[in-house]
Symmetry: none
Subunit: 257 residues, 2 copies
């Protein structure tokens, strides 16, 4: 079934459209089967969130945009799922925030790296790190292929944006003294807890929102932007998101019965 053949009257139309986008990425060799299963886990949490961006996520998105703008060497880490779902918006975010794009994969193969590189180039990106020999440095304490990073990119970055991530790498990046912005729809995950700023939202909404926030923040002084980044409290924000999830589940349960 193609995006065009999904019955428009299906109650979960939009979710199915996103799913088809991911399946297309899978057929193009950008997404691995494990990425499809991981996406499904995300879908479940998005379903619980009502497939919308909640106020704490908006606040975290603003803080994340501010953090990107005040960083010296911000890097956006791109994997198969994020390239399949939001390539165009990731390139826009990179351009507006002066953050580099770096390909970083759990299931790494040269072919997949190249396909993701091409996908990002199609959207107008020019300098993409982490592909092939460029992944010349190692993040300590990670056993997966995610440890391979570019010495010009994630290795020396002061801030790294990660999406749809495993908890190990976020912890290691923070241990290396970096700030980590995580887009993770599961507020209970280790990634969500370890990150400096966690945006509990679907990447498909979070990346465009980040672009918008960057556009708006650029009208402020550097000092004002820094203030927004620094006064953000990730633990409190996650608590608020968990409270929203519990309230939503209670409400769904009450309305339904």
């Amino acid at each position: 079934m193609d995006e065009e053949t999904i019955p428009p009257d299906h109650p979960r139309y939009w979710s199915l459209v996103i799913r088809e986008r991911l399946v297309r990425g899978f057929r193009n060799g950008i997404v691995v089967p494990q990425g499809l299963i991981a996406h499904g886990r995300g879908e479940a949490f998005d379903y619980i969130l009502g497939e919308e961006t909640h106020p704490p996520a908006r606040e975290a998105t603003k803080a994340a945009a501010a953090l990107l703008l005040v960083s010296q060497n911000p890097v956006i880490s791109v994997n198969g799922n994020s390239a399949a779902l939001a390539a165009s918006e990731l390139v826009k975010l990179s351009q507006i925030s002066n953050a580099k794009l770096e390909v970083n994969l759990f299931h790494r193969s040269r072919e997949r790296e190249e396909r993701i590189l091409s996908r990002l180039r199609e959207e107008g990106a020019d300098n993409i790190l982490g592909v092939g020999e460029d992944a010349d440095a190692i993040i300590p304490d990670i056993s997966s292929m995610r440890r391979k990073v570019s010495s010009r990119g994630i290795y020396r970055a002061d801030t790294v944006l990660v999406a749809i991530e495993d908890g190990d790498r976020t912890e290691s990046l923070v241990k290396m003294g970096k700030k980590v912005i995580a887009i993770d729809i599961n507020p209970f995950s280790r990634t969500a807890r370890y990150a400096t700023v966690t945006i509990v939202d679907n990447i498909i909404r979070a990346i465009p929102n980040l672009v918008k926030e960057c556009e708006e923040l650029r009208h402020l002084s550097l000092e004002e932007i820094r203030c927004i980044a620094e006064r953000f409290d990730n633990e409190a924000n996650l608590c608020n998101m968990v409270a929203i999830i519990l309230r939503r589940l209670e409400k769904i349960a009450q309305q339904g019965f």
Copy 2:
């Protein structure tokens, strides 16, 4: 990693076995990429449930077994994921409950139908409906390919067991006057709410449990079995499962922060 090489004492043994079974089904053309995503959704809910069968699910399983046994024309609807995950147990359930097996797919193709047919035959099933020309009837008000059913099977059934389903069809089947047994790990879903008996559990645990319940119930009189089926309250049961989920999430949140 093959199913046989997963150490049985691994803390996430079942979850790994299930994933390997699904990936094998995917490689054999039984499971579609969309099925891997759907499985991920299920994984998230099973994670929240602690990957175990809770008391309300056991109660629902018993009621479902009773309903199958007292039905005149029960039919078990089989899709790609359920065939990949529980083919052998579905055939056993069909045999012990005298329910017909019918292939019914959202992403329908003759090749997939035939592969699922072969998979069920391998496990000893002989009369499998819904394949090719046999899907000669239409359930009203469904726009997806799931509307195509056998006039000898789902179309004239008094009870239909569905697993890993979309809500539309469950609602339509109930509107047609049928009783629906749903195996759905998400108690908030439309399928869960519309069904006559909803088993909020992973299919990999639910189908063997249904077989066991059928074996035990057969020692009772038909009147006693009917009584078990009739006194089941699906709404109350779903409320109990929702309460369990909320308590579990509160606990996960407290432990983490």
